[in-house]
């Protein structure tokens, strides 16, 4: 079972702000997801290779060729705060 502390922890990792009344709901939903996924452990998977990708493909590679980049105005267009051609962000570690 997922408890409130777990919910707060994963919310923090995902930078989600949760209201106290939401904790119950998320704990319940996450528990039910885990319960569903846990069904896999009931199967006998002896000798089955773990699957890392749904497609049966390997080595999708491109040649080392340079393509045009966006110009800087375009690149910065979605930045909420821009200075001297760079994205401006709040202090990274600070009080």
């Amino acid at each position: 079972m997922v408890d409130h502390e777990d919910v707060r922890y994963v919310a923090r990792l995902a930078r989600l702000r949760l209201e106290p009344h939401e904790l119950d709901r998320y704990a319940e939903q996450l528990s039910s997801i885990l319960k569903h996924i846990n069904k896999i452990s009931e199967l006998d998977l002896e000798g089955t290779e773990p699957m890392s990708h749904v497609l049966d493909l390997t080595n999708v590679l491109r040649e080392d060729e340079v393509h045009d980049s966006l110009d800087s105005e375009e690149a910065l267009a979605n930045g909420p705060d821009v200075e001297d051609g760079a994205f401006r962000v709040p202090p990274i570690i600070g009080e």
């Binding site: 390997t58 040649e63 045009d68 051609g85």
Partner: protein, 482 residues
Amino acid sequence: MEYEPVIGLEIHVELSTRSKMFCGCRVKFGGVPNTRTCPVCLAHPGALPVMNRQAITNLARIALSLDCEIPERSIFHRKNYFYPDLPKGYQISQYDQPFAVDGSLEIALEDETARIGIERVHMEEDTAKNIHAGDSGRIAGSLYSMIDFNRSGTPLVEIVTRPHIHSPRMARAFLNRLKNTLLYLDVSDCNMEEGSLRCDANVSLRPVGTDELGVKTELKNMNSFKHLEKGLAQEIERQRELLEDGERVVQQTVHYDVASGEISPLRSKEEAHDYRYFPEPDLVPLVASQQFVEEVRRGMPELPEAREQRYVSEFGLPLYDAQVLTASREVADYFEEALGLFDDAKLVSNWVMGELLAFLNTAGQELSACRVSPAGLAELLHRVRDGDISANTGKEVFAEMCESGASAAEIIAARGLTQISDESELEAVIGQVIEDNPDQVEQYRGGKVKVIGFFVGQVMKQTGGRANPKVVNELLRRRLSE
């Protein structure tokens, strides 16, 4: 109690491919911020990464040069964390199925060699560059940060050693050997100032004779050989003092301040890292077939160790010469090119080590910026060997070639340096010198043959150092014995 340092290094190498790891933006250092970005390296929704073939080839070269095992299949993972230089909110990296494992690299110390184990070599992508606004330029106390995504997505190879290093000097020797190897492989420019080669160190102490590892700290971004060595020495000393005072070492990341020489803890994030690695669904597995690995192996250049041995066995050079010449690929290439045009290995070696490297050292110049080409050096050596100029004059000419970029022939002609070997020309000078110094002539004839040095000196003085010493010696002996 005696303590022994235990050090493991984590090295990040930016590959010098033309384009980025997962998109076609150009890989280059610096430039106007945010001019080499696209939806992939800016993490716009829906953009998909596609692996760079050349980056994988370079990765395989590194793995083979470190004697690693390359498992047939490796996969990519997402390493999740929030940081402004990481636009996707995760870094594409490798986790429990890295590209290569279990290698080693041999390093030479003053009187012994040591083999340092390599735990893993894996592929990932570099992050963007943060510029911290504020007085210190450091992250702590900065007012805000500016992000330049030009670097975002540059192919980055991580190399992790086993904790087989036991002194700052050994760490330096390892990094030096690794850097040379990477330069030989032509996979990265390894420019430490520009961050193409970065080094973190894990360091702990343990009582000598025990096997258990002590609590370690992580020393971040030792971005020059000197800082690596000094920072490690400082951190080892700090830990030793703690342990000797009966205190404990706290596991943390520390920063070595180059200016003050002090170690201080980096303010760490509130909670322990929880990267929640999971397989990157946007990339399919990478299979390194035997055929691919063999192809890369066949295309491998000769590495420093092999080249060093060849210089001894093939060219008959002393081991010391071989070590100096092969320490850098650039120097070794220069040497071999000159040797191709002048077939006396020891002489070329002497001039490269003695004159060329000494000049670069004093001038603080890179070989690539040197104005004397290997062909230029070979031309000069021919003039010396042919007796046109003396070896000493040759050294002067070489210095001038370095300064002005003119050829040996031009300088010799312009300064009238051609050695005088013509006997009749020298006879006249010698006759005069003998006439002017009757006392010394008597001394010589009285058995004090060493005085010949005085006469040679006089002849040299009269000819501006251009007289061929061998011919002068012969002529003097003949004349003085008359």
